[in-house]
């Protein structure tokens, strides 16, 4: 029922997008909402296991769950960021805060990452674990009731690439655990999902071929670092491969920045 209402919300007048284009996009928008719902459910489930381990003082288990849990968040980052209060408490980095690691406002995944890798202890982390769990559940509840603005969804493909280009390619996101390549995976998958859903509405085969080629290029480069279910440390990434990734991501960000316009949205 909620989903139906949300979809109806797409058609409310007054929003800054073309009605015709929006109507045509109802199908992929609904599919995207299902994708986000699935990822959010996984995020809640995995965050519970992760925070349980933290509260139990099981550093090794918590470490092993950190990157795979974040993967779900990274895939849906553009939507998650619609709730800026939660994005700050779930995913901000130390340098988003004036007193860095010591700042009381530094909470969420990276606060716990700092404890697990930099200090090697979960001592004092229980309140942060509880807060993270509560924030993630809050996020899931809000997403469930959310009307997705189509511009945010279609534009999210470029936003995901911008995220990598602006604040991830340098390895600064997961600076204590060096699990950045997992986050790249999440951002690439999230962006490609959007392209796949809206592909039928893009009338430019050469454009799509370029996008596909660049996704393939960054995928091939990233897969060189696959290890088991996940990825090697960011520190293993060579300068040459980092540059290939950076150029691919920059190019995708430029090209995908036209996706909204190409499917008829402002």
């Amino acid at each position: 029922m909620k989903t139906t209402l949300a979809l109806l919300g797409l058609m409310l007048p007054g929003a800054a997008f073309a009605q015709d284009a929006t109507l045509a996009l109802v199908g992929p928008m609904a599919e995207y909402k299902l994708y986000v719902a699935d990822e959010t459910q996984e995020l809640v489930k995995d965050t519970r296991a992760f925070t349980d381990a933290v509260k139990a003082g099981d550093v090794e288990t918590a470490k092993s769950l950190f990157a795979p849990t974040r993967l779900h968040y990274e895939k849906i980052e553009p939507v998650a960021e619609l709730f800026s209060d939660l994005d700050v408490s779930i995913d901000s980095r130390a340098d988003d805060h004036e007193a860095a690691e010591a700042d009381p406002g530094f909470t969420g995944f990276h606060r716990i990452e700092h404890a697990l890798w930099a200090t090697g202890s979960t001592e004092g982390m229980a309140p942060f674990a509880d807060k993270l769990m509560a924030d993630v559940e809050d996020l899931a509840a809000r997403i469930d009731g959310l009307t997705f603005p189509p511009q945010v969804v279609v534009g999210g493909a470029a936003v995901l690439m911008d995220e990598v280009a602006a604040t991830k390619i340098s390895g600064e996101e997961d600076r204590y655990s060096h699990t950045d390549l997992w986050d790249f995976r999440g951002n690439f998958d999230g962006a490609r999902k959007i392209v796949e859903l809206f592909r039928p509405h893009v009338k430019d085969d050469a454009f799509l071929a370029t996008i596909d080629a660049n996704f393939d290029k960054v995928d091939r480069t990233l897969e060189k670092y696959r290890e088991g279910e996940g990825y090697q440390s960011y520190e293993k990434l060579t300068d040459d491969d980092r540059r290939v990734l950076a150029a691919g991501v920059n190019t995708l960000a430029e090209d995908l920045s036209t996706l909204r316009g190409r499917v008829g949205l402002d």
Partner: protein, 443 residues
């Protein structure tokens, strides 16, 4: 969109007309005689390091990017300059050619200016819009130069490396910061305004995202001075408060530039390099707080010039364009033997081989962790022979008293490609791509 009522557009067109006839930059590029004069003769022609004059520069100033040499080297220095260094992604000669052609296209548009292309408002704009809907030339130059790293990385490119192009070595007083050193390709971007240089950089970053990755950049500027009486020359002051560039060779003397700046047959360099030039770029931090606490007489002794007027110390009431007589001062009574200008250019018959063309900018970046000003000199010099030029000069300067007040922290050696024309199939680096094609073509 079009329309004769747009005043900006009319200004632009007027600017083009003016540029063709009375542009101050045209004179400096046209002059070719006068090789009997001293190196730094006050010929009345604009000097490369001359301080830009207020109200003289105009958005209509057009510096042609075309010719036997790239612009931005012997053309007079405008008020703002930047060096941006990039990593290059080019696996094949065809990739490199594609990159250079695209750079040539952007340079052609950005330096000439014109209306920004209009796109569907549902798409990101084609231009950053920093300069408004009509881009004016604003004396913009973009000089393309390649670093040793690029040649080293590819087997198909390394045989064509300019003979003297190496990674800039660490000199004794340097404190190299790896994050602002070297690079595959450097662009020197100069213009009347900082906005024009930033606009050009952003355009290029957006235009070539798949082949250029920005590694570092340093911006700088030189003070604009009120107009001087005709014939009077003032070189711009650096952040140590001294005139900088007084002894520079006359960039409007083509014969001298052929000897000092442009690579030619005389250097034994690969044929494709002829018409290019070596750049030594040095980001030289100045410890200005310490300098400002140093007695004036000591500052002048260290530099070898009068601070107020730039005159040599053996004739304090002359001008900065007058030349010190070291022969009459063999023991350094007037100008200390280790004064900066005496070490840099001892003015002996031998040291004429070490002349370089300096074209630096002052930079002011922010505040260090210690709470001191992070400012200094974006030193840029051009020469046909790197070993005889910058390296020889720096070797003489090593250990100079000025070192207590300066710390080179970044930069690199780069080779500026030969010039290119507006012919449809020409672009910067065409000569290099041609040379690669000849060596890799099937027999």
């Amino acid at each position: 969109m079009a329309g004769g009522h747009d005043p900006t557009r009319r200004t632009l067109l007027r600017g083009f007309g003016a540029a063709a006839m009375v542009c101050p930059f045209a004179a400096g590029m046209a002059r070719a005689e006068g090789n009997a004069a001293p190196d730094n003769n006050a010929t009345g022609q604009p000097r490369v390091t001359q301080a830009p004059q207020a109200n003289e520069s105009s958005p209509g100033d057009y510096v042609s990017p075309y010719g036997a040499h790239q612009a931005g080297i012997v053309t007079p220095r405008p008020a703002h300059g930047m060096v941006a260094s990039f990593h290059v992604l080019a696996d094949t000669p065809a990739d490199l050619e594609r990159l250079l052609r695209r750079l040539g296209e952007r340079i052609a548009f950005l330096t000439r200016g014109g209306e920004v292309p209009q796109v569907d408002p549902g798409l990101p704009p084609a231009d950053s819009g920093l300069l408004g809907p009509v881009i004016r030339p604003d004396a913009l130059t973009i000089t393309v130069a390649l670093g040793a790293d690029l040649f080293d990385r590819h087997d198909w490119l390394s045989p064509h490396r300019p003979r003297q192009l190496v990674r800039m070595p660490k000199f004794p007083n340097d404190a190299p910061d790896a994050s602002i050193l070297h690079g595959d390709l450097a662009l020197q971007i100069c213009a009347n305004t900082q906005d024009a240089t930033i606009h050009a950089l952003r355009d290029i970053i957006k235009s070539v995202p798949d082949q250029l990755l920005l590694a570092w950049k340093q911006e700088g500027s030189v003070p604009v001075i009120p107009p001087r009486p005709a014939g009077e020359i003032e070189n711009a002051r650096n952040f140590l408060g001294f005139r900088d560039g007084s002894a520079n060779p006359d960039a409007s003397d083509a014969a001298q530039m052929d000897r000092i700046v442009w690579v030619g047959a005389a250097q034994g360099e690969p044929g494709w390099t002829h018409g290019g030039s070596y750049a030594a770029v040095r980001i030289i931090r100045n410890f200005v707080e310490r300098w400002d606490r140093t007695p004036l007489a000591e500052q002048e002794r260290i530099m070898g010039r009068v601070k107020s007027n730039g005159a040599p110390l053996d004739r304090r009431h002359a001008t900065e364009m007058d030349v010190p007589d070291y022969e009459a001062d063999p023991d350094g009574e007037a100008t200390a033997m280790d004064a900066h200008i005496r070490l840099a250019n001892p003015r002996t018959p031998d040291s004429r081989r070490n002349l370089i063309l300096r074209r630096p900018f002052n930079y002011s970046n922010g505040v260090t962790k210690s709470g001191q000003l992070d400012q200094g000199l974006l030193f840029i010099c051009w020469q046909a022979d790197l070993a005889q030029g910058f390296v020889a000069v720096q070797d003489r300067l090593n250990g100079e008293p000025l070192e207590e007040y300066i710390k080179p922290v970044g930069g690199g050696f780069f080779f500026a490609l030969p010039g290119f024309t507006d012919a449809p199939d020409d672009y910067p680096g065409r000569q290099l791509i041609g040379a690669i094609g000849r060596t890799t073509a099937p027999a």
